[in-house]
C-alpha cells in the first residue's frame, strides 16, 4: 500500500500547454517536498511546503499544500521541454519520509 498516491503516472504534452500533477494521501504530514529527477541523475528538491493552504511559486511552477496537510498539487504553466522529468512528492513526518510513485512528464517541442 502506497502512502502517497501521485496522478497521473505518465503525462505527455505539447510545449506551451499547462498541466497539474496531484499528490494525495489519507495521512497528515508536517511538510511536503517536491523533487524533480532527470534521467541518469538523482532527485533534486524543488520546494518544501509546510503550512496548510500554503502556495509557493517557482517561476512557472506553482505548488500548493492542502488545507488539511494531506495532499498537494504542482501546476506548470506554459510547459517547456526543459520541464521534462520525473516529479516526486514526499511527505515528511518527523524524520520519516514517504515518497510518492512519481509522475513522468514529457514535454514535446
Amino acid at each position: 500500500t502506497q502512502l502517497l498516491e501521485q496522478s497521473p503516472q505518465f503525462l505527455s504534452i505539447q510545449e506551451g500547454e499547462n498541466l497539474t500533477v496531484y499528490c494525495n494521501s489519507s495521512s497528515v504530514f508536517s511538510s511536503l517536498q517536491w523533487y524533480r529527477q532527470e534521467p541518469g541523475e538523482g532527485p533534486v528538491l524543488l520546494v518544501t511546503v509546510v503550512t496548510g493552504g500554503e502556495v509557493k511559486k517557482l517561476k512557472r511552477l506553482t505548488f500548493q499544500f492542502g488545507d488539511a496537510r494531506k495532499d498537494s498539487s504542482l501546476h506548470i504553466t506554459a510547459a517547456q521541454p526543459g520541464d521534462t522529468g520525473l516529479y516526486l512528492c514526499a511527505g515528511v513526518f518527523g524524520n520519516q519520509f514517504y515518497f510518492g510513485t512519481g509522475t513522468s512528464l514529457t514535454v514535446i517541442p
Binding site: 508536517s30 523533487y35 538523482g42 533534486v44 516526486l88 515528511v92 519520509f97 515518497f99 510513485t101 512519481g102
Partner: protein
C-alpha cells in the same frame, strides 16, 4: 552545496556475488538512506540510519544489509546478489526532516 557521492554509476555483477555500494556525504548529515528505484514502483526504502552504527530497516530490507562506521559513509551490501536485485540504487542524506540530498545513483545489473 551538499555533495552525495556514490562510488559507481554503473555496475555489473554475477548471481551469488557479494556486492558493496558505497555512499559518502560531505555535510555532516546525521540521516542517510538507501533506496531502490524501479519503473512504476517509485522509490522504495531499503535501510536508513540516524547515526553512526545505527541502522533501521525500511520497506524492503530482505537480501540487503548496511554499514555505517563513520558519519559520512553509508554502505549497502548485497550479501548474495540475485537477478531480482537488478535496479537503480539511490543514496540520500538529510538533516532531520529537512530535504534529502541524493547521489546520482548506481545502476546495478545482476547477470
Amino acid at each position: 552545496d551538499v555533495k552525495v557521492t556514490q562510488s559507481s554509476r554503473y555496475l555489473v555483477k554475477r548471481t551469488g556475488e557479494k556486492v558493496f555500494l558505497e555512499c559518502v556525504q560531505d555535510m555532516d548529515h546525521e540521516n542517510m538512506f538507501w533506496y531502490r528505484q524501479d519503473p512504476g514502483l517509485g522509490l522504495r526504502l531499503i535501510y536508513f540510519s540516524y547515526d553512526v552504527k545505527m541502522k533501521e530497516k525500511g520497506d524492503i530490507p530482505e537480501g540487503y544489509s548496511v554499514s555505517r562506521e563513520k558519519k559520512e559513509r553509508f554502505s549497502l551490501i548485497l550479501e548474495s546478489a540475485s537477478t531480482n536485485q537488478t535496479s537503480m540504487y539511490l543514496c540520500a542524506s538529510s538533516l532531520g526532516g529537512q530535504p534529502q540530498h541524493f547521489g546520482d545513483g548506481t545502476r546495478l545489473s545482476i547477470l
